[in-house]
């Protein structure tokens, strides 16, 4: 970061603050991409597994790796800078912990996808687990890649070709990630037990209506399913009866008046 030589107050730290803000943005987007990668990885091997899904996984993974490289150079350069003031260093360390944890999650997910790709090869169409999914992961991948819509032209490459290419790249990437993690630990010494996070213990609830309600309705009362339907039918019949009564009454009134 170029030093801003200014007579005004603490503008020397503006550069450093910007670094912090940049770093935070980068780490946040890495966390987002890793979360999307995980959600996509749960579809592998299921009935919606396809070339498209694998392609989306590849793109998400590449984006995550690009981000990881950027964050690594950014954070290592700042954390090795001995002139960093104390609060900034603390913030950087929190970012560092977030970064290394995301990398660990990404590493495990990549290993799992690699392994599952072995078992559920794209060429063998029969061995797919019927796990109940219907849609693909396109929206999730779109979110990961920060594009509003993922309008992909159908990939023209053959599944087998794509797969073998993908496997070799993935192997390299996994080992690269491994080295990066080791490297990081060597270069920057962050004492994890000294890191003090800001956030609350309980994250704030983001929305109220959700699949939780669906789950709880269906699930906790297994015997009430047929009862529920019967009750609905009864209510419907009652309404129809009321409508009929009103209709006959109105006809009577019209008739007799």
């Amino acid at each position: 970061m170029p030093l801003i030589n200014n007579k005004v107050g603490d503008d020397g730290t503006v550069g450093k603050d910007k670094a912090l803000v940049d770093g935070k943005a980068l780490v946040d987007s890495l966390i987002k991409v890793v979360a999307c990668y995980r959600v996509l990885a749960t579809c592998v091997g299921g009935c919606t597994d396809s070339l498209q899904l694998r392609d989306e996984l590849r793109q998400t993974r590449e984006k995550a790796q690009r981000l990881a490289m950027a964050i690594r150079s950014h954070l290592t350069s700042h954390l090795r800078d001995k002139s960093l003031p104390e609060e900034q260093r603390k913030e950087m360390e929190i970012l560092w912990v977030g970064f290394s944890s995301s990398l660990e999650l990404l590493h495990v997910d990549m290993c799992k996808v690699f392994n599952m790709g072995d078992i559920f090869s794209l060429s063998k169409k029969e061995t797919r687990v019927q796990n109940g999914l219907q849609g693909g992961g396109s929206e999730v991948a779109a979110r990961a890649l920060s594009v509003p819509d993922l309008n992909q032209p159908q990939s023209t490459s053959l599944p087998a070709e794509f797969e073998s290419h993908e496997r070799s790249t993935m192997e390299k990437d996994i080992s690269q990630l491994d080295h990066m993690i080791d490297d990081m630990e060597m270069k920057v010494n962050v004492l994890r037990w000294m890191v003090d996070p800001h956030g609350p213990q309980y994250p704030d609830p983001l929305s109220s209506t959700d699949s939780a309600s669906l789950l709880s309705v269906d699930e906790e009362q297994p015997g009430h399913q047929p009862l529920h339907q019967r009750r609905k039918l009864f209510v419907l019949l009652l309404l129809v009866a009321v409508v009929l009564v009103v209709a006959t009454l109105s006809i009577c009134i019209v008739f007799f008046s």
């Binding site: 959600v39 009935c47 912990v97 796990n131 849609g135 309980y202 669906l214 699930e219």
Partner: protein
């Protein structure tokens, strides 16, 4: 020392006993076959329908057909698949069993299949719990709440990351359509029911400790390696052999005798605490309980070792010996045990005390062992070590076993104990009571407290030693006013000087130490 099979151990990883995972996966993939696999039906929820639900009875029927087994076995295999996490129930998600009716199940997605390669991380669990909290505050159950608080304490440095990751995963999942969201939630929840089971249940993936080394990897061949093989084979050659008819007969006899007393092989009264979470069985069988149970008393009649190893039995035996005035045998035996198992620093002191109390001529509680053993022991006591009293102890043990034990079993003391022994009724707990019991589980007394209680008891016993149990060769201890049962006081007077010889070494003294008996000296 590892002598391994020369045949490679196929299928076992170095975390043993989980070969079932690979095999289950094969069966599961076969179930997916569109032609010969399971037929699925859509699950109707309030707003939407989700495909690929299968009924319990279909699963069991398919397994019985494919594996050529009967329904009961197919059912247990199906339950195993559910317990491992390959199939999850849609209703009653906490009970991981297969019900042979129309209840619905679904296949778990391969990402959440159980595996040993990647251990289940606490970070992921924390993220999952945070996600559930995001969805609806306060939805976490008691045990989940406790886990959450504990993880917050131990992974505090990562907490920002965990909360952020939970939010991002939540948002990413929200991008999907409603039925897919529901399915994903069910899958994740089922995964965590398997790997972080609710209290009162056990995870099927709990395979015990990880082994430190991989038994399938090749061991480095060094001279040390060969030396160990040589020692092992030499020891196997030198081992004493027993005819298999004899050893098998002994095993059969042991099994037949102890079959009813094994709490896992037969019903344990009132109920097995490991199964019903009710600790009455343990409280009734505590070491210093007043009234023992019938089963316990029956075990005392199996062998002398059983009687002595049970604290309550030993107390009873001690009472009997007190009435027979031969309590010093047991006291000596106990003192020898104490020496053998006690601290090295106290060996010298204990050995001296034992010599003074039991072995010296004119000792207050003189024991009766034959001359040769006495000679060997006294010589050894000049340089005492842990096992110096072994010959004497064995002699006394055999003495008690051959003589006192038989008389004990016919004695009124024992008959009284047998009569008073209780036989508790069997518990019959309903399902709700079992759950309540599992919630009320509490840790037992701390071992520190138990050790203190033991020491207090020992001190009390040591203080209460009945030194009235004198033998006729004891020097009269002047300050003790009570002498029990000696008719011939002149006899004792003659033996006032301590260095007078005791009984002749070669004579075998009768064991009965009743009041009126005379020695042929």
């Amino acid at each position: 020392m590892t002598i391994r099979n020369t045949l490679q151990d196929h299928g076992q990883r170095y975390r043993p006993r989980m070969a079932c995972l690979k095999k289950s996966e094969k069966v599961l993939l076969e179930m997916q076959d569109p032609k010969t696999g399971l037929k699925s039906q859509p699950q109707r929820l309030v707003i939407t329908t989700i495909p690929h639900a299968i009924t319990g009875e279909d699963i069991i029927a398919w397994l019985a057909d494919r594996l050529q087994v009967d329904t009961q076995e197919a059912r247990s295999f199906g339950s195993m698949l559910v317990a491992l996490g390959y199939i999850y129930p849609l209703q009653d998600h906490k009970r991981l069993v297969i019900k042979p009716d129309a209840s619905l199940y679904r296949f778990q997605t391969p990402y959440f299949w159980p595996t040993q390669q990647w251990p289940v991380e606490d970070t992921d669990y924390a993220i999952y719990l945070a996600k559930r909290n995001i969805r609806k505050k306060g939805i976490l159950e008691m045990h989940e709440q406790e886990h959450y608080n504990r993880l917050h304490k131990w992974m505090n440095h990562k907490w920002d990351f965990i909360v952020m990751q939970a939010k991002e995963q939540y948002r990413a999942a929200k991008e999907r359509k409603k039925p897919d969201r529901v399915v994903f939630d069910c899958q994740e929840r089922a995964y965590w029911v398997v790997h972080r089971p609710p209290p009162g249940t056990v995870s099927a993936m709990d395979y015990g400790l990880d082994r430190q080394i991989d038994p399938n990897s090749d061991e480095a061949v060094t001279p040390d390696f060969y030396e160990r093989i040589m020692i092992f084979t030499q020891q196997s050659i030198m081992r004493p052999r027993v005819k298999s008819s004899v050893s098998i007969g002994a095993l059969v006899k042991y099994c037949a005798t102890y079959n009813n007393h094994d709490p896992f092989l037969s019903n344990c009264l009132p109920s097995n605490p490991w199964i019903t979470d009710d600790v009455t069985f343990w409280t009734l069988n505590m070491p210093c309980v007043e009234i023992p149970t019938k089963m316990r008393v029956e075990r005392w009649t199996f062998s002398f070792a059983e009687l002595l190893s049970d604290t309550r039995g030993r107390d009873d035996f001690r009472l009997f010996l007190k009435k027979e005035f031969s309590g010093e045998n047991l006291a000596f035996w106990e003192a020898c045990e104490d020496l053998k198992w006690g601290k090295a620093a106290s060996i010298k002191e204990k050995a001296e005390h034992i010599y003074k109390t039991f072995l010296a001529r004119g000792a207050p509680r003189w024991i009766n062992i034959d001359g040769k053993t006495m000679e060997v022991t006294v010589k050894g006591l000049k340089h005492p070590h842990r096992y110096v009293l072994d010959p004497a102890q064995t002699h006394i043990y055999m003495l008690m076993k051959k003589d006192s034990y038989g008389r004990y079993q016919k004695s009124p003391v024992f008959k009284d104990t047998v009569k008073k022994a209780i036989c508790p009724d069997e518990h019959r707990f309903s399902g709700a009571q079992l759950e309540q019991n599992s919630k009320k589980r509490r840790p037992s007394l701390s071992p520190i407290i138990l050790r203190q209680m033991e020491q207090e008891q020992r001190a009390k016993m040591a203080a209460n030693i009945d030194i009235t149990q004198l033998c006729r060769f004891t020097t009269p201890v002047p300050h003790l006013a009570v002498y029990s049962g000696f008719t011939d006081y002149s006899h004792c007077h003659r033996l006032t000087l301590p260095h007078l010889p005791g009984p002749h070494p070669g004579l075998s003294v009768p064991h009965q130490r009743g009041p009126g008996q005379h020695l042929g000296v």
